[in-house]
Subunit: 88 residues, 4 copies
DNA sequence: AACGCATAAGTAAGAC
DNA sequence: GTCTTACTTATGCGTT
């Protein structure tokens, strides 16, 4: 009979611990990827590229893609609105 | 006979293209990890946890770690300032 | 006879102008203070101090103060979570 | 005769203390001005202005003296170098 | 004069 | 839906 004498439910405590660990692992992964990105920019700079321009370029391409997705979404919305989704 | 008739060095163009691709891959990975993090918070909320408190806790632990690293850094800075880095 | 023939409300234009002026004045003040800070660091360097170490020290003291506030915040968060805010 | 028996020069310690104090005072002033700036933006928002647009406007006026055309030119150079659109 | 750092601006997400 | 808070990006600054 475990956990006798505790005030709170032990399962919640375990769950919380697990959540924190998962979050910190994921945060570490994210930081690691960010580090890789910095390294790529450093390499670019080492090869004589203008990193500021590259950053701008990457951002522009990202926004372009987002816009494409948006256009596609609204297109499908229109299409569904007139009951001919299959044509898209 | 490659590159005849081009004005700029093609190798730079290839390098740039490669850099862009690597950066976009890494950015996609980062976004994916961020998505996982959101899912964990959603799960936590689904299990009745206070996500605000969890966020605070995670941030606090992160800041604690940062502070430790900072303290260590200033210690080394002081140590080097008095020419006895080996004592650290 | 003011404002006859204008399309937009002139009051908004006046307000906007005032806002911009105030913001630019405040920005100038901020830049001025930043300039003083630079001068203090220059003086420190002139007296043989390691400005990097001083910057680190100042930042550290600032972070310490921030951490105290943060600890207090999470304490209150926990307290409210268990319904006893008055005890804090 | 003060300071007999100390290893380091006490005057440096005093100087350092003074420097730190002056820096922290100036930093506080800077933070205060920053706070005022935030308040002005809050007031602007309260009066129905788009703060993002105002920030942009202020930034533009501040950097009107800069050479944005140069950045634009190098961007276009890179874009044309990789036939930008083909990658999309 | 280029590099890294540190602050500041802008953006996106989450809470109330 | 508004509002703040956290994160990301960008610019400028000091240093080497």
């Amino acid at each position: 009979m475990p956990d006798v004498g505790h005030n709170g439910p032990p399962v919640a405590s375990e769950q919380l611990k697990s959540l924190i660990e998962r979050l910190e692992t994921l945060n570490a992964e994210k930081a690691e990827v960010a580090e890789y990105i910095k390294e790529v920019y450093a390499e670019a700079k080492g090869n004589g590229f203008d990193t500021k321009a590259i950053r701008k370029l990457v951002a522009l391409r990202k926004h372009d893609r987002a816009k494409l997705a948006e256009d596609k979404a609204i297109l499908e919305l229109y299409a569904s609105a007139i009951g001919c989704l299959d044509l898209v």
